[in-house]
């Protein structure tokens, strides 16, 4: 069981705590940009994602990569998550994964 390179589950607010670390999150695509996209996190924060994107993009994507700053991620993997997604569920997951149940995720 390899746990050597975990990606921390984050939302927009938690991203600032993991700058420079490998993170994973789900964002709603606001608009594609040159070299990436601008997205909205599950807690309504803007996140810029840089890197190679799948084509075509669905409404929601999962981003796994390194946090460049409190508002941007350099993506290693971007996966389409479809056009419907329970954002409140994921937001709660991020809070649990960084709170009481942190030991199960990192």
């Amino acid at each position: 069981m390899d746990t050597s390179n975990p990606a921390v589950l984050v939302n927009g607010d938690l991203l600032r705590s993991y700058v420079g670390r490998r993170v994973r999150t789900v964002v709603q695509v606001v608009r594609p940009d040159a070299g990436g996209l601008t997205g909205r996190s599950t807690d309504e924060k803007q996140i810029v994602v840089k890197g190679q994107m799948p084509a075509p993009l669905t409404t929601f994507v999962e981003v796994i990569g390194v946090a460049d700053s409190a508002q941007s991620i350099h993506a290693e993997i971007v996966t389409n998550f479809g056009d419907t997604f329970d954002t409140s569920n994921f937001n709660q997951l991020c809070q649990l994964a960084n709170g009481d149940f942190r030991h199960l995720f990192i």
Partner: protein
């Protein structure tokens, strides 16, 4: 077979595999597993593990004549998985599984040379991803 929702009746039809009452979503975190690494069958929470269900991303897929191996990353860690392919239907099922794809796998935890591994019985690609599988970890 690759529809949005996992249908247990469809997945398990055709014989050869029956869902066990002991099926549970597994937290592969080492602290939840037995410390007796030499035993072939691993235990979870001191109960003999009948089946495990994992959802994660497929990595490092390697296809061989008699089996297909891959690594499953569920967000908390990675575990080696192995799917024996005996018939053409098995091969065809595994051909549709691609690197980077999210899948749900059913299998049994095994130990091999001191390393944990999942012997996969069935695998389905997930077209819709839900976070409920990660929230289930609260049970452990």
């Amino acid at each position: 077979m690759y529809g949005g929702e996992f249908d247990g009746a469809v997945a398990f039809s055709g014989g050869g595999f029956m869902p066990s009452q002991a099926t549970q979503t597994t937290d592969p975190f080492p602290s939840a597993l037995s410390k007796h690494r030499d035993k072939q069958t691993h235990s979870i929470n001191r109960e003999a593990n009948q089946q495990s269900v994992l959802v994660g991303m497929v990595l490092n897929k390697a296809e061989r004549v008699t089996d297909v191996s891959f690594v499953l990353d569920d967000g908390t860690g990675r575990i080696d998985c192995n799917r024996w392919v005996h018939e053409a239907v098995d091969t065809k099922e595994m051909e549709a599984i691609l690197e980077g794809m999210y899948v749900r796998v059913h299998g049994q935890l095994k130990g091999f040379q001191g390393k944990k591994q999942l012997a996969v019985f069935g695998i389905l690609c997930r077209r819709r991803v839900r976070t409920s599988f990660l929230l289930d970890k609260r049970k452990y």
